[in-house]
């Protein structure tokens, strides 16, 4: 299934709470991650989304509404 640019934007937005709450999940297991870990994790998530977009995006001529 193709990933649209709008879809990328939504996935990036959705990755923000996931990254923030990751720290909570680790906290429950007694691992205190520094704030920077949230940033690093968010960068990884965004990179993964962009890779998915690059792989699935249709050729540039496609307009698709």
């Amino acid at each position: 299934m193709k990933l649209t640019r709008a879809g990328v934007l939504i996935l990036v937005a959705f990755s923000v709470p996931v990254a923030i709450e990751l720290r909570t999940v680790f906290g429950l297991f007694g691992i205190d991650l520094p704030l920077a870990a949230v940033g690093v994790f968010e960068v990884i998530l965004v990179a993964a989304i962009l890779v998915a977009y690059a792989i699935t995006a249709e050729p540039e001529t496609a307009t698709g509404p």
């Binding site: 640019r5 990328v8 934007l9 962009l50 977009y53 995006a57 540039e60 001529t61 307009t63 509404p65």
Partner: protein
């Protein structure tokens, strides 16, 4: 918005008036490929999403009540 600018998209350069009317918002129905009537449609995905939500609610409620709340010092007992 780097995503929006890194790729050329023909739509961006177009004269806006060339767009089909109704494109800007409310465009969802333009892409309908098939009609699903009431009897042909089972919201199985919705059921899945809502059950995941149910589990999250139940687990977080239990955590908040028994760990965060009852686990705290100085609680009103009378």
């Amino acid at each position: 918005m780097s995503i929006e600018t890194t790729r050329e998209h023909p739509e961006r350069g177009d004269d806006p008036d060339d767009r089909p009317p109704g494109y800007v918002v409310g465009s969802g129905p333009d892409d309908v490929e098939r009609e699903l009537s009431h009897d042909e449609f089972d919201p199985i995905g919705t059921l899945g999403i809502i059950l995941v939500y149910f589990v999250i609610l139940a687990v977080m409620w239990a955590f908040m009540y028994f760990v965060e709340f009852l686990g705290r010092g100085i609680t009103v007992v009378g």
